[in-house]
């Protein structure tokens, strides 16, 4: 069974909000939707995202931003109302090099939402999430700021 978002009125707008943030927009992140509570983001290969000009492989920093952003969206699938969250820590395992020219996808899930901290895991892949190029785990602090990232949607 695929768990549905706790509140689609929080999850959907937050997915769109996160990819519209200036740095995500600069990198070209796209929100493709969700598999239950697992959001999927995509970034197309572009020359300016390359980290190794000898090979054309995308910079690891793109993977870091993609995992951070997708994981943050995954937390919002579990929230009843909009709240501001902040990454506490993040670890990325680079399982194999990304293929130059191919889009990279990231799918994340929040596997534990505690009262103050949310725990997430994510995979980055080209064609198949079972054949990942990177794996990321992160924790987020909840209610990191009293300033809302988004106005509460009207019921």
């Amino acid at each position: 069974m695929i768990a549905t978002p706790v509140n689609p009125k929080v999850f959907e707008p937050m997915g769109q909000l996160f990819v519209s943030l200036p740095h995500c927009a600069a990198l070209g992140f796209q929100y493709l939707g969700a598999d239950g509570r697992k959001p999927v983001l995509k970034v197309d290969w572009r020359e300016e995202l390359v980290g190794n000009p000898a090979t054309g492989v995308v910079h690891g920093g793109i993977i870091t931003s993609l995992v951070d952003t997708t994981s943050a969206v995954a937390v919002t699938a579990h929230l009843e109302r909009v709240e501001t969250i902040a990454t506490l820590d993040l670890r990325i395992d680079y399982l194999k090099a990304a293929t130059p020219g191919k889009a990279i996808y990231c799918r994340a899930e929040c596997y534990r939402l505690a009262s103050q901290v949310a725990f997430t895991r994510a995979v980055c892949y080209h064609d198949n999430p079972d054949d990942p190029i990177a794996h990321g785990v992160a924790t987020f602090m909840r209610e990191s700021s009293p300033l809302p990232m988004l106005q509460e949607p009207q019921a």
Binding site: L21, L90, R91, M149
Partner: protein, 148 residues
């Protein structure tokens, strides 16, 4: 060894710091600047740019961007301080966020904690106005003997 690594070594020997950064497309996109501090160690800086924001309300730098900046710093620092012209390959990267990144210049310095035959361990620290108040600390493992 690649043409890129040969070019890197040439730029390093001529101390053309900014040309090293500009050879890496994503570093150029972030707006990374490179120089030396008073003790001759590499000092990375990232002047504030609107495109690096991750929270427009606070505002704050994007956490992923801070990660990318530190990871890039670790890679350049490692290549800069090695004799070998093999490209190190990042294995894993772990990052702790201590404070939010304000809309100001972000700095980073690295330290090679260990360089073995196969693996190097690099510590990275980022701060803004006050070095004693780090924004983030990170560490990375790199494979040193690679074919690419």
């Amino acid at each position: 060894m690649s043409d890129f690594m040969e070019q890197f070594a040439t730029l390093r020997d001529q101390k053309r710091f900014q040309d090293v950064v500009n050879a890496i497309p994503y570093a150029r996109l972030m707006g990374v600047e490179l120089g030396e501090d008073e003790s001759g160690d590499l000092l990375f800086s990232l002047p504030f740019h609107e495109r690096n924001v991750g929270n427009t309300v606070l505002p704050a730098l994007h956490g992923g961007l801070i990660g990318g900046f530190l990871e890039n710093a670790a890679m350049i620092h490692l290549i800069w301080n090695r004799e070998s012209l093999d490209t190190p390959k990042i294995v894993d990267f772990s990052l702790d966020y201590l404070r939010s990144g304000r809309p100001k210049t972000l700095y980073a310095r690295c330290e090679i904690t260990k360089q073995g035959k196969r693996v190097a361990h690099v510590l990275i620290e980022a701060w803004q106005e006050d070095r004693s108040k780090p924004v983030a600390v990170a560490r990375a493992h790199f494979l040193l003997a690679t074919t690419s």
